[in-house]
């Protein structure tokens, strides 16, 4: 500790801390605005005349929105289930099997997660249209599976690599065949990684707008619905739902922090959310 103060900062970095605090304020200010406005009966700060739950009430009466919310949960759960199966299988493949070009293969699997959503959205749209598949829950689900699978694969493969081969050797040495080794030893040891990845994937899927918008027909997810609401101006209901989403995300991220143990792991970031 003293070495840090000695070398990296004779100064306690006060200018830096001021700048850092400003950035912080910049980061949180918009969210607080949304929060405030969700309780405000009018739309301007000047008219901040008391708090109201009116918008939340309207929210719960908006059947379209509630349906979209339910749809989002459904897609999220299904996508996570599918992604977990494929992603975990992929993780085992990547960590246990050697072949030339493995890096390229891995990069290709990561693509849907790293590329801007517009690219994935349009490729899948063209793909489904060419196969005459109508836009529906299925297409949206496939879209979500495309970017959640790499996430799961990445998390699980990291965990597998950290685990190392020794436990498997020990299990086999002590009499467990490969199936028993997987079931009794490997699976329990990657359990937290699986749960963490699942939570992360769900969170990412919940918020996803870009790909979903490309692949949506009449069956909508919440972000698509909200986006639709935006076109007609900023009804304060939007603030209410935004606040709810905010709280939900925070809850999910707290769960995730607990399950993935090291706080460093909670930053397996969702590029999906923005790109």
């Amino acid at each position: 500790m003293s070495s840090k103060s000695r070398a990296a900062g004779r100064g306690r970095g006060t200018w830096l801390k001021i700048y850092g605090t400003l950035i912080f304020v910049f980061l949180y200010f918009p969210m607080i605005i949304v929060l405030l406005f969700s309780f405000s009966p009018t739309r301007t700060i000047v008219g901040l005349s008391g708090l109201t739950l009116k918008w939340y009430q309207e929210l719960f009466q908006d059947t379209g929105l509630l349906t979209a919310f339910w749809h989002t949960v459904l897609v999220g759960l299904c996508a996570v289930a599918i992604a977990t199966v494929f992603g975990t299988a992929g993780a085992f493949f990547i960590t246990r099997v050697e072949f030339p070009g493995k890096g390229v293969f891995r990069a290709m699997v990561m693509l849907p997660f790293l590329l801007p959503g517009i690219i994935m959205g349009l490729t899948l749209l063209i793909f489904f249209r060419n196969l005459n598949v109508p836009l529906s829950m299925f297409t949206i689900l496939m879209g979500h599976v495309s970017f959640t699978t790499p996430l799961v694969m990445f998390q699980v493969s990291s965990r597998l690599m950290r685990m190392g081969p020794t436990y498997r050797w020990a299990a086999m040495d002590l009499g467990a065949n490969p199936v028993q080794t997987f079931w009794h030893i490997t699976l329990p040891m990657i359990r937290t990684a699986l749960i963490g990845a699942g939570l992360l994937a769900f969170t990412v899927s919940f918020d996803e707008i870009v790909i979903s918008y490309f692949l949506t027909g009449t069956w909508m997810t919440l972000p698509v619905y909200i986006y639709g609401m935006l076109r007609f101006g900023l009804s304060p209901k939007v603030y209410a739902i935004s606040t709810i989403i905010l709280i939900l995300s925070l809850v999910l991220i707290t769960f995730m922090a607990r399950y993935t143990g090291r706080s460093a792991e909670t930053y397996r970031v969702s590029k999906r959310g923005a790109a």
Partner: protein
């Protein structure tokens, strides 16, 4: 362990992920590539192969102009994001002793706030009846709302920077955290003050994280179309809008495919740069 080619039987494990890769990545990309050589007249897609779309892109100055504008804006956004995130990461990594983890989480949380919510927030802040204008009018600085906050490149820049800051923060912070603290001791011991330590030790070692952060921010900014659509107005047409509109009102899917593929090529080449110059750690491409 030595890297040896695995036995053929082992490759069975790879079947599920290979199927997934084909179905959701490889084949759609192929279809898109093929479609980029079709053409569209009205509502009908003509499947005779042609280079028309690509030729249009390379000859019509509109496309080049908008692509250039988008690249320029994306670069600006990335620079701004780094200007915000890097000092923040430096501060948390080197200057904070207690509560480091909590602070880290606090820097990450904006990431989990819904993308749409963040857009909504900024529209509220920047709009004519938004927070800034209302505040300024209330104080009496201005009589009429200032319109230059919204529906232009400035709005896009601010909002996208806001989105990108956490994405830059993470790889930079990870890279900075990996710098062994005893290097700083050694540098100090050998006579360098904080500034020189920064330029000679911290910056070079943190550079891969910086580069990764910059690249991710750039790609996000380049490929986004929703923010330009919502906040950019007529001034703020970006390449993403151009691509997207081909699938909407313009209904020129082949052109959209071609433009999309060009964007894809750009994004992939840049991503390739990360593995060369950036950090492969930090939770994105490897560990």
């Amino acid at each position: 362990m030595k890297r040896r080619l695995s036995k053929p039987g082992e490759f069975i494990k790879g079947i599920p992920i290979a199927v997934w890769l084909l179905a959701l990545v490889a084949v759609p990309l192929m279809f898109t590539f093929v479609m980029s050589f079709y053409s569209s007249s009205g509502l009908v897609i003509d499947t005779t192969l042609t280079l028309k779309n690509y030729r249009l892109f390379f000859t019509d100055p509109l496309y080049a102009r908008i692509l250039f504008k988008s690249i320029r804006l994306a670069l600006a956004i990335s620079v701004l994001s780094i200007a915000a995130a890097f000092p923040l990461a430096y501060m948390v990594s080197f200057k904070i002793r207690r509560g480091r983890n909590l602070l880290f989480m606090l820097c990450i949380i904006p990431l989990w706030v819904s993308y749409l919510v963040r857009i909504i927030a900024w529209r509220t802040i920047l709009g004519n009846r938004g927070v800034i204008n209302s505040a300024l009018m209330a104080i009496g600085v201005i009589q009429e709302p200032l319109t230059f906050f919204l529906y232009n490149q400035f709005a896009i820049a601010i909002t996208l920077t806001y989105i990108c800051i956490p994405f830059v923060f993470i790889p930079v912070y990870t890279a900075l955290e990996k710098i062994p603290r005893n290097l700083l001791d050694a540098s100090n011991d050998l006579g360098a003050n904080e500034l020189r330590t920064f330029f000679n030790v911290i910056l070079p070692l943190g550079l891969p994280g910086l580069i990764t952060g910059f690249i991710f921010s750039f790609i996000i900014a380049l490929g986004d179309y929703i923010i330009p659509l919502q906040l950019g107005g007529t001034q703020g047409i970006m390449f993403g809008n151009l691509v997207w509109s081909q699938f909407g009102f313009a209904f020129n899917w082949p052109l959209g495919a071609a433009l999309g593929f060009i964007l894809f090529a750009i994004a992939v080449s840049i991503l390739g740069l990360t593995s060369k110059f950036g950090t492969t750690e930090g939770g994105f491409l490897g560990e």
